[in-house]
């Protein structure tokens, strides 16, 4: 029996288990998936928790609900990959052998990377919303918060779901307005980027939206430390910003196991060919999702589009053919803008987010770089699609390759 090993049973790993079990003959291929946790989190839902729109129960299901029949599941921590021997060492001394492997161990928040971030005020006046614990703690805090300086700070690039901090700012504006206390809350968005987003048109559109909503933006801020006593964040250039409530998007890092295995960059993201999705130094290792160091967004939509490329290339490799599929870096993000409306961006390695309609040219129903109600419903509907279609690796009516039709240059 040949062995396909999948490390990580999050969005990317689970999709691949479903796809590959359909493609690989049961009497020829063993498929094993390894993850240390038993709970699958619907991570796009974390954003809604601090504002009481979702609770914890809305975003969790057992991982086992999404594995296909015929896949071995191991719940264990991973010690390291010994790529030269095609082996993975689990904690407790178990050794797994593989013919092909997919690394899908994702990214984690690493608040310990910024001095003082995980200090006395952590989960008292300083929160994150990229973990279930942080999102729930912040929801509790907001219920009784009397207002003051609300500072949203991105510690470092890259970080998962690059639009989520903006959505958080828009939601906060709407939330405190609806509670009749917006005049007591000053919202400041502090980012290492030169503007609200990376690419010109989206930056302009989203920057104007921040301005309309009376949200201050402080760009080019690279945080050095959090002063817990003085309640301020300080950047390397000496800029200081006071806060009463700090919502931090901590440094994102790949799994520590990647460092122990010597397969990653200095942030533990796996060195990956951005077109083929193959690991740079090992022909039988592929990488999917946030774990890869490819220059596109760390987001479920990217993992979903890339999964179709990986499926094809993995089959090419297994059958000894040249890799024929080429990933274009396609990302597609619904952006909540508050008050039941949202916007949408669609882009890839080479093409910045442009205005237009999606997915059907001229028809939509979704508007690119436009604020509409339909876009908001698209995001809400997506939770159902995620649980029932996406994780199970079923076809979606959207091309994995970004389409120019429907976009306006």
């Amino acid at each position: 029996m040949k062995k396909l090993l999948i490390l990580g049973a999050g969005t990317a790993g689970t999709m691949m288990a479903n796809k590959m079990r359909k493609l690989l003959a049961r009497d020829e291929w063993d498929i094993t998936i390894v993850d240390q946790y038993k709970t699958h989190y619907y991570q796009p839902g974390f954003l809604f928790i601090p504002f009481g729109m979702y609770t914890k129960n809305d975003v969790i299901k057992p991982k086992s609900d999404f594995f296909p029949v015929g896949v071995n599941v191991i719940y264990s921590k991973i010690d390291k990959i010994v790529a030269d021997k095609n082996q993975v060492l689990l904690d407790e001394g178990v050794v797994l052998q593989y013919d092909y492997m997919i690394i899908a161990t994702g990214t984690r928040t690493a608040p310990e990377e910024v001095d003082g971030l995980k200090g006395n005020l952590w989960y008292k006046d300083i929160f994150d919303f990229y973990t279930i614990e942080g999102a729930v703690a912040l929801a509790r805090h907001f219920k009784t918060w009397q207002g003051g300086e609300l500072v949203i700070n991105i510690a470092e690039l890259p970080y998962k779901c690059p639009v989520a901090p903006l959505e958080f700012a828009f939601f906060a504006d709407a939330f405190f307005t609806e509670r009749g206390m917006r005049d007591k809350v000053n919202i400041t968005y502090v980012t290492p980027l030169p503007g609200a987003f990376t690419k010109p048109r989206a930056t302009k559109m989203l920057g104007e939206l921040l301005e309309q909503k009376n949200i201050n933006i402080i760009p080019d801020f690279n945080i050095m430390e959090v002063d817990n006593e003085g309640k301020k964040i300080i950047d390397y250039g000496g800029k200081e910003i006071p806060f009463d409530c700090l919502v931090s998007i901590p440094t994102n890092m790949g799994d520590d196991m990647i460092e122990r295995s010597g397969l990653g960059d200095d942030m533990n993201f796996v060195l990956t060919d951005k077109f083929t999705l193959r690991q740079k130094d090992h022909e039988n290792i592929f990488v999917l999702g946030d774990a890869a160091n490819i220059p596109t967004s760390k987001a479920g939509s990217v993992a979903h589009f890339a999964a179709e490329i990986l499926e094809e290339n993995l089959m090419c490799a297994i059958e000894g053919r040249p890799l024929t599929a080429k990933f274009d870096g396609h990302a597609n993000c619904y952006i909540e803008t508050g008050y039941g409306k949202g916007t949408l961006i669609d882009f890839n390695y080479d093409t910045e987010p442009l205005p237009g309609s999606f997915p059907f040219p001229g028809l939509g129903p979704f508007g690119l770089l436009k604020v509409t109600r339909t876009n908001h419903y698209g995001k809400l509907m997506f939770r159902w699609i995620y649980w029932h279609i996406l994780l199970k690796g079923k076809e979606m009516p959207i091309d994995s390759e970004m389409q120019m039709a429907g976009k306006k240059l």
Partner: protein, 102 residues
């Protein structure tokens, strides 16, 4: 487009970054630095060498990476190129501006 820097005609983009890294010289670096309000010291040149090597190897430049370079830590890097260290350092080093992809 072409621009006359330190008496040499070099090709630059609309933001003034050299488009051909091989045209770079120490004199050009000093001239661009002066435009950016930076006076180059030995430490600057040491860092410029690090930056040029990194880029030549196809590696991505980050403030974290430079902070771990052994040449300077992140705070010292800000001291050398005040304000926007990565943008200034790359411009003076004659390499492309780092693209932040998120």
């Amino acid at each position: 487009m072409d621009k006359l820097i330190a008496g040499v005609n070099v090709s630059v983009n609309e933001e003034g970054y050299l488009t051909d890294s091989s045209q770079w010289t120490k004199e050009i670096a000093a001239a661009i630095a002066a435009e950016e309000g930076v006076e180059l010291t030995d430490k600057h040149y040491e860092l410029i060498e690090f930056v040029r090597n990194k880029v030549a190897n196809g590696e991505t430049l980050t403030i974290r990476g430079i902070g771990k370079s052994g040449v300077v830590n992140a705070k010292e890097f800000y001291g050398l190129f005040p304000g926007a260290p990565l943008k200034k350092a790359t411009k003076i080093s004659g390499v492309p501006k780092p693209t932040s992809c998120i």
